[in-house]
């Protein structure tokens, strides 16, 4: 055990380097991940936007946080896809028969998921700027937004690890992301929750996406964030811990 722990960071950097090469050699995956949310953004701003009353004069500003969450939710399906391919292809077994820190096999995927999702988030923000998104937020609020998005990605990446390890087919490995992509639609991401029927509204107001969206929106528009940011952080950290435990369980089943 001692010998392998000593190499944790060097093994980790090899694994991360490998995953990053995978991502940069399949830029099409980043493009796919950004196109759908950008499409939603165009659709909601230029088609539905005129009819949606959010109480703000700039609908792009209102919409952007939810769009970013959709992008991350669809981005992590590639993380589980890549992990699934590793498990199926045998390279997973090769790594495990080697004297390395075993946990780096998973952490490499999780860390590269953070990097690739950060890239797609930046791309979408650039498109939003072209569509009229403006923020008065300073450096600190932006850092807070970046941290929330990173925690959200981290949480979902561990969910993706569970799917990648336990899926029986390539389609299965990616399919778990669909309901997560759908969550922002039943939240305050696109329209205020006030207009929803009571049951839907109760769900929308108490699911993780709403608090995350509200916290990011407040940070970007320079409003007081209130409790939302703490609820958002609690959700992200809670999901990370639970997903990590189940991911480790799925992992132990595999090895």
């Amino acid at each position: 055990m001692e010998a392998t722990k000593k190499h944790f960071f060097s093994d980790m950097s090899v694994m991360l380097g490998r995953s990053m090469r995978h991502i940069f050699r399949s830029m099409d995956t980043i493009i796919t991940v950004t196109i759908m949310p950008i499409g939603f953004m165009l659709l909601f701003v230029y088609v539905f936007g005129g009819a949606i009353q959010t109480g703000t004069d700039n609908y792009v500003n209102y919409l952007l946080p939810g769009i970013l969450l959709i992008a991350i939710a669809s981005g992590i399906s590639y993380t589980s896809y890549r992990l699934f391919i590793d498990v199926q292809g045998g390279i997973f077994e090769r790594f495990h028969s080697m004297p390395i820190a075993r946990s780096t096999v998973l952490w490499g995927h999780v860390l590269s998921s953070l990097v690739s999702n950060a890239i797609s988030v930046v791309v979408i923000i650039v498109v939003a700027l072209m569509m009229g998104f403006r923020s008065s937020a300073g450096v600190l609020p932006w850092l807070a937004v970046a941290s929330i998005l990173m925690l959200f990605t981290l949480a979902l990446s561990w969910v993706a690890v569970i799917a990648g390890l336990s899926a029986k087919s390539v389609d299965g490995a990616g399919a778990f992301a669909y309901p997560i992509v759908f969550l922002p639609f039943i939240s305050s991401a696109f329209v205020p929750t006030e207009s929803m029927p009571p049951i839907v509204r109760a769900f929308a107001e108490n699911q993780p996406v709403t608090s995350i969206v509200e916290a990011i929106r407040a940070l970007l528009s320079g409003q007081p964030v209130g409790n939302d940011i703490w609820i958002a952080l609690a959700w992200c950290i809670g999901i990370t811990i639970v997903a990590y435990i189940f991911a480790m369980r799925a992992y132990k089943k595999r090895v």
Binding site: M1, A3, T4, H7, S10, D11, V14, G17, R18, R21, H22, R25, S26, G89, G90, I91, E93, R94, F95, H96, S97, M98, P99, I100, V255
Partner: protein
Amino acid sequence: MQNNSIQVKGLQKSYNQLHVLNGVDFEVEQGSIFALLGSNGAGKTTIVKILTTLLKQDGGTTTVNGFDITSKPDNVRQSISLTGQFAAVDEILTGEENLIMIAKLRHLENPHQVTDNLIKRFGLTDAANRRVATYSGGMHRKLDLAMSLVGKPQLIFLDEPTTGLDPEARLEVWKIVKELADSGTTVFLTTQYLDEAEQLADQIAILHEGRIIASGTLAELKRLLPPTKVEYVEKQPTLEEIFLAIIGKKEAK
């Protein structure tokens, strides 16, 4: 004891109710080529997975290179290498990147030097900078073998190394395996091709219904059969011989 790379006594493994291994015993001498024969589903891969620490045994005592696989898995991993049934290479990386990655994970001092040597030795120079996804089946397997040799492990596991290869690539793999054994590496081989075991192995064990039902050298195994009869049979060239002869002629031109 010291002369044995692998020592297996009373190895048990079952998946739920299914007893795959029912008290397997065998020993592999250091520096030899050991072939484990058995039909599909006999449990050959299960044995390889247990010996390479990928699976836990349910019962029995197993030592690999003198280390108990249950209590010292890290030492075992340090001294072995596995080439699985399906080529365990990274398709998206180039051949060179694959080798460097393994060299780094084995924490070698000079990963680039080691990689260059293996690329030359395996005749992969032209393909080294191409993505593995573009490699043929034979090249895949060669790279896979090269990756297993990074860091010069004392013991190499080859799980059906020639399954799915064309005859030429198969002969090349055989040549590499022989060279390995000549240089003192112990080779543990599983195969369903009897001629492969006949060609390569110093020791052969036959796995059937969860037990080793026969083991020994080829000569010893032959003695188990009824004595040789002399019969007159016209020796037709096999299709493999014809294929290789024609291919050889073409290349000579």
